[in-house]
């Protein structure tokens, strides 16, 4: 079959690979009907996530039709022919983390837990197509994929919603929602979102659904800011203005009540010397992540507010504003999304028409053109916001 593979820093190629087979009794094989490229894939493409190997199949946002199930799966849970969306973190449903609904911290699904523990202090869950640090699972930018512990992970779609309406339940919609939910939004809250990529857009939509009074989008890509203003959010271009002053101006000098970092480790900075400092340290591997958005969010947030981090960080950062964070009683909340917790309620919101996930899709390409999709998405070319691939 065809699959989009990582073949080295800055290159992905569509290659012929074997079709997946059942390795565990609770596996299922899915024929993929739609899959997408995520901002997290860019971190892998750019080589900022360690333990990628040549030939790894990329992709953690996918859905399709079940074509085979392992012997350990009850027919009333899942059967051949079911249409499913697959959450990107692999959860077991039975460990302490899963029982606490911290699915992306599942204690059982990462065969390389020993390695992950060395990086993070405690191991994290397996993730499809997302380096060997998260288990070395083949990804879903392919014609077929193996779904692990499929009976407790795959979400069956019974209704006739089409792929584009439900595909993002696999990752970015729950991620944006969790970013807003962690903000514990109260009446009258102003929520600022760094990053107007697909994750940021869904964080904004979710903040509104959860009752935010005003939502502010921060980015430098005009077309992405335009997408936000079209939804009624206020735009701040960090290349044009000083972000902290702009936010103070928009909030009567208080600062946003809640701040969401939907940028992560490859943030760029308006002030070129700061950008250069972090870029150089990152290149020399003495800092793995560039935390401009995170620093700014902490400094801008009102005292006692919440900084909610859904942008991905992989290692170490410099100049973390611990003083601002500590002295001003800020709450920092984080996590890879616990997708399984949000899929069903969000499917409900889609069915009720309260959230329209299709609004972020700008490009639809065949799987064979995945490398072009990566180029467009990475370089923000052709006003690219989100690429959906069709095998």
């Amino acid at each position: 079959m065809k699959a989009n593979c990582w073949t080295g820093r800055n290159t992905v190629e569509v290659l012929d690979v074997p079709e997946p087979s059942i390795l565990n009794s609770r596996d299922a094989i899915v024929r993929i009907t739609s899959t997408a490229i995520c901002g997290s894939d860019l971190h892998l493409l750019d080589g900022y996530v360690p333990t990628m190997e040549k030939g790894d199949v990329m992709g953690h946002e996918f859905m399709g039709e079940v074509v085979e199930v392992g012997s350990g799966i009850d027919a009333d849970k899942l059967r051949v022919g079911d249409r499913v969306v697959v959450p990107f973190p692999i959860a077991c449903g039975a460990c302490g983390a899963c029982r606490a609904e911290l699915y992306s911290c599942c204690e059982n699904t990462n065969p390389n837990a020993g390695l992950s523990e060395k990086f993070f202090g405690h191991p994290t869950a397996g993730i499809y197509g997302y380096s060997h640090l998260t288990g070395g699972f083949a990804g879903g930018q392919a014609e077929y994929a193996r779904v692990v512990l499929a009976d407790v992970n795959a979400l069956k779609i019974g209704s006739d919603l089409d792929d584009e309406q439900v595909l993002f339940l696999s990752d970015i919609l729950p991620t944006g929602y969790m970013g807003a939910e962690m903000c514990d939004i109260q009446e009258g809250d102003v929520v600022a979102v760094w990053g107007a990529g697909p994750v940021g857009q869904f964080a904004m939509d979710s903040a509104r659904v959860l009752g935010a009074e005003k939502v502010i989008a921060i980015d430098k890509e005009t077309y992405r800011l335009d997408m936000a203003t079209a939804e009624g959010y206020t735009a701040v271009d960090y290349e044009d203005v000083d972000v902290r002053s702009a936010l103070l101006e928009l909030t009567g000098g208080r600062g946003p009540d809640k701040c969401i970092d939907a940028v992560g480790m490859e943030a760029t900075h308006g002030a070129s010397h700061v950008q250069l400092y972090d870029r150089a340290k990152q290149a020399a591997r003495s800092e793995t992540d560039r935390p401009h958005a995170l620093r700014q969010a902490i400094l801008s947030c009102r005292s006692g507010g919440v900084v909610s981090v859904i942008g991905v960080y992989g290692g170490l950062i410099d100049k973390f504003p611990a003083g601002a964070w500590m002295n001003r009683s800020l709450t920092l909340r984080t996590g890879q999304c616990h997708v399984q917790k949000y899929m069903k309620p969000l499917l409900g919101l889609i069915e009720q028409g309260k959230i329209d996930p299709t609004r972020v899709i700008t490009h639809r390409l065949p799987l064979s053109e995945a490398p072009t999709g990566y180029e467009l998405f990475k370089n923000k070319a052709d006003n690219c916001e989100k690429v959906v691939l069709r095998p």
Binding site: P18, L23, E53, C92, C95, G96, T109, G139
Partner: protein, 312 residues
């Protein structure tokens, strides 16, 4: 370190080690008290250089004696071996430049030092290996009540399902089992074990019977985790590595990353308890045989050949 005190106390009652300690003392005293007389007795002459060398050797002998008799450690035995080699070198030099007077005595002294060297090497080698006990501990929390987890663990024949180095465990009697484990270079080590303590739902301990390739013992303690989070499981394994090639290979094997290995064993046990089996990925498809080595298999579906290798 508990291991250290244990080996120290054992060496203190070791007749060979004590004998070497007293021999050092007996040689050291006259060398220090009357270096000229001692040098003459060896037939190496009593010039100032010979006297100085003899006295220095005496001080070294007294230090070794004190070490071996007071705080015996393999290091002191190895120190003696080093001293012996220096003595042999000095005697060889003396033989080469000999003026003939007392030559017989120098030759006899050289022969004696050679015998002593052999004894010291023997003592150092055997005592070093004997004093290498190793203790590993690991702990995890698994879902389920202690009595349920106890039942799963005490089904000893299933231990090889998740313990990487175990090949086979067979129940041979009500309290006895036969174990087979893999060692590097395709070797296997085997032993009989018996259960030494068994408190259902709380504790099980075992130890290898006499004549095991590697003396070992282990125990698993179980306790309810606070907050209704299942069972805390604490595993302790002890290996007493004997002399001989087997001990050495085993030591190297365990020297790899023994703690990591036991941690991974427990992780797999937890996977079996909580999900029913060991989770496999395309990058690490071999289940318990995947040792977390890098580079791994790429994270792409397996070919038929790779599949066969991974699943059998």
């Amino acid at each position: 370190m508990t291991a250290d005190t244990r080996s120290t106390s054992r060496l203190r009652h070791d007749p060979l080690v004590r004998g070497l300690g007293w021999a050092s003392a007996l040689l050291g005293v006259p060398q220090v008290v009357d270096p000229a007389g001692f040098a003459r007795a060896l037939g190496v002459g009593d010039g100032s250089r010979q006297r100085l060398t003899t006295a220095a050797v005496g001080v070294r002998e007294l230090a070794a004696a004190a070490g071996l008799l007071w705080r015996p450690r393999p290091a002191w035995l190895w120190g003696r071996v080093g001293g012996d080699l220096m003595d042999l070198a000095a005697l060889a030099r003396a033989l080469r430049n000999h003026d003939g007077r007392g030559l017989g005595r120098t030759v006899a002294a050289t022969a004696a030092v050679t015998v002593i060297t052999a004894t010291d090497v023997y003592a150092a080698v055997t005592r070093t290996r004997r004093s290498a006990p190793m203790e590993l501990t690991a702990t995890t929390t698994v879902a389920g009540r202690p009595d349920e987890v106890y039942d799963l663990w005490t089904d000893l024949e299933r231990l090889p399902d998740f313990m990487a180095h175990l090949e086979d465990v067979r129940v041979t009697g009500p309290r006895t089992t036969h174990w087979r484990a893999s060692a590097p270079f395709g070797r296997t080590v085997e032993w009989d074990a018996e259960v030494t303590r068994d408190v259902p739902g709380r504790l099980i301990a075992w130890r290898s019977a006499d004549g095991a390739d590697v003396d070992n013992s282990g125990e698993v303690r179980l306790a309810p985790a606070p907050g209704d989070r299942g069972t805390e499981l604490q595993v302790t394994l002890r290996y007493d590595l004997p002399g001989g090639a087997l001990g050495k290979t085993a030591a190297r094997y365990f020297g790899e990353e023994p703690h990591q290995q036991l941690d991974d064993d427990l992780r797999r046990f937890k996977q079996i308890v909580e999900t029913g089996e060991i989770v496999r990925s395309e990058g690490a498809p071999g289940g318990k045989r995947a040792r977390g080595e890098f580079p791994q298999h790429p994270a792409r579906p397996l070919t038929e050949g790779e599949l066969k290798e991974a699943l059998t």
